[in-house]
Symmetry: C2
Subunit: 252 residues, 2 copies
């Protein structure tokens, strides 16, 4: 067996999930903590490669002894979250741990992931929202919110999402199956929540930018079909900043 960790982090201080030559990554911090806790070097495999500044309410990663596909430890599974968190900085924590078979793969075995994009839409910034949402200084009206939600529904289903992929990305297939997409208000924030079997590079941030164009009247909800069918990145909206994006749930 190996161990599957559920992790939460504030991405602001990191260069993203994956180890990079320049900058400190979440993966590096997990590597250091696992080595300190288990007493030997470990391989950490994450469920996805979140970008610099992106947050996670639930990120999943497996730990195995370096160069192997299993982990042996006398530490009870129930004590691992607290014990490993003690070796991590304040902006990263492990909040759950479970055992998984040796052949389990944290990335390839993902069935569905859910992301949240958080817009803060009051004129003046809110200190509690700084780096935790994307500040859009024009208020989104109730009517605009309904339009955004209507537009989001067009994402549902299996589509070629090339129009919503950062240009220059290389993937075998640009078809993804979106299982849920909705926009709703949460206090002073507007939330875009989307689930899919997988996401293309920058897909959620481009979807969020496109929905903002709908909010501000540059696009209408019915335009979504044409934008998706165009497979043309220039037809979709801007790539919104990383600070508003949260990996929210991972289902295996």
């Amino acid at each position: 067996m190996k161990i599957l960790l559920k992790i939460a982090y504030i991405g602001t201080a990191y260069c993203g999930y994956q180890v990079q030559p320049n900058g400190i990554s979440i993966q590096q911090k997990l590597n250091e903590a696992a080595k300190a806790l288990f007493g030997f070097p470990c391989d950490i495999v994450g469920c996805s490669r979140t970008d610099s500044g992106v947050h996670a309410k639930e990120f999943c990663a497996t730990v195995a002894k370096k160069g192997t596909d299993s982990l042996e430890t006398s530490i009870p599974l129930s004590r691992i979250p607290l014990a490993m968190s003690a070796y991590l900085p304040q902006d990263i924590c492990v909040f759950a741990a479970e055992s998984v078979p040796n052949d389990f793969h944290a990335r390839y075995d993902v069935k569905e992931k859910e992301y949240i994009y958080r817009f803060f839409d009051r004129a003046v910034r809110d200190p509690f929202e700084v780096e935790r949402s994307c500040h859009v200084p024009r208020t989104i009206s109730d009517e605009a919110l309904l339009r955004m939600n209507r537009a989001a529904k067009y994402f549902c289903g299996s589509h070629d999402f090339s129009a919503f992929m950062a240009q220059g990305s290389k993937v075998k297939s640009t078809v993804r199956n979106v299982t849920r997409a909705e926009v709703y208000r949460d206090g002073n924030a507007v939330i875009f929540r989307v689930s899919a079997d997988g996401f293309l590079y920058n897909m959620v941030r481009i979807m969020a930018g496109t929905l903002l164009d709908v909010a501000y009247g540059k696009l209408c909800p019915e335009d979504m079909t044409k934008v998706i069918e165009s497979r043309d990145r220039t037809r979709a909206g801007s790539t919104m900043p990383a600070c508003g994006l949260y990996l929210n749930r991972v289902i295996y």
Copy 2:
């Protein structure tokens, strides 16, 4: 006339609201921003003296030209929040401004203040709650929550709150009128919300510590009467840390 500002801040980086010889205060930052915006030195009078590390969702303060009780400016009132926030660090903002008469006093004219104390009660810390709530590692059950709420109700009314005041504090009267007190769950946090015509030094933080004693069975709700009537600080609970405390609303 002078100007009443509504301000929000994260208190973590500051030595408290009031100017101190050592450490940077919220008041100092407001002073600097007001001078930069209006072009002359100003007097800032705040609604209360929050301690180091305490946050504010709504703090009120007046601005007048230094040594006077009025402010003349050509800047429209509606533009002041955004303009003044531009001169403030990211963890402080002015979100509203209104004009008040020259004899208005930001502290003495307060009719009611509302504070919130935020407990985070999951075993493992949450990065998003660090320095924004008080982490209590034992979960508060639904039943314990109901007991806390029942205990909080004993605070309501006009009482001598000497038992809930930091020892050595000097005030003319230790009687305060609590108009509302309740405990409820908000996701992974437990909230204690309390309103009164005024608060003694550390009063909310000691109330919060006493309610935690009720949650963990050291006190029962009915003990509150005896604790209040004792006027004895040693009968109440611990002073909880500043990071869980928020000034939430100020009514004039």
